[in-house]
Amino acid sequence: MRDGKLTFGVVVFPGSNCDHDAYYACKKVLGHEAVFLWHKEADLRGSDVIILPGGFSYGDYLRCGAIARFSPVMREVVRFAHAGGTVVGICNGFQILQEAGLLPGVLLRNASLRFACKYVRLRVENAESRFTSQCGAGDVLAIPIAHGDGNFFTDPDTLQRLEDNRQILFRYCESDGSVTEAANPNGSLANIAGIMNEQGNVMGMMPHPERASDPLTAHTDGQRIFRSIIAWVGEHALVPEETPGR
């Protein structure tokens, strides 16, 4: 953190394709700092927040996200997460976080077998997390999805734990907030679109908030997620790197 600005570290794997969108949203739309972190370099370059962007890391070979988790940068991301650092995985980034063991469950092939690319509505299930504090509970956000493997699945015990610990952050819903099967674009268990870990510092979501941030796009609800993170990390920066003039 520097002059009240956070540094977002956007990890770039071979095959990432939403890295520039995330960079643009953080830097140009929200006015914070952003750096690209090449996956071969085990260095987070002082990032306050890590974003694993969407795309097709390693061509989705073997399983989505399965190879990316062995990249050198991921060792540092896991260490950062275990130390309480804020980590966001979007789409393929969500899949990578699951493969890395930072988030529970898996994302199966869409039930329709089709790539789904459209705006969806998300109901905010927990507005007290560091990822959603600038939303209200029950708010409906308009954010696009673009994926072929976004069908969230986990075993019944894990689902119960997610519910009990309020780790489910977003569910696919209708515009009025009702959670229906028709509003579920991929067959996800319990309409789950985004979750966080038990400690509340690692989030994964299939929809793309970075694509709904610039006022030039149809919606800017994605900003509320970034602003939540900025507000939380800004307040909780434990050891400021520099304290000029104090």
Binding site: L62, R63, A66, F70, Q98, E99, G105, V106, L108, R109, N110, A111, S112, L113, F153, T154, D155, G187
Partner: protein, 83 residues
């Protein structure tokens, strides 16, 4: 000694397999009516060295657990054959 490992990675029975379902429908469209429960998985072949078959199997299974299969959704079987 050198061994060949043949690995099948399959979706666990509790996991819905929409690909398998689509193929099942296609088979029915072919006019073949008696085919059911199509499940699609992966087949992986690799060479592995080990002092014994048991050791080669152990190495292969470690690779399966840590990389080739995701235990949340997949099972695997390993077949080891001396080269």
């Amino acid at each position: 000694m050198k061994y060949t490992a043949r690995i099948h990675v399959t979706l666990r029975p509790s996991i819905l397999d929409p690909q398998g379902k689509a193929v099942e429908h296609a088979i029915a469209t072919l006019g073949v009516q008696s085919v059911r429960n199509v499940r699609i998985g992966k087949f992986i072949e690799l060479n592995v060295e080990g002092g014994s078959e048991a050791e080669a199997r152990q190495r292969t299974e470690e690779v399966c657990r840590k990389l080739l299969a995701n235990p949340v959704m997949e099972d695997y079987t390993v077949e080891i054959q001396k080269q």
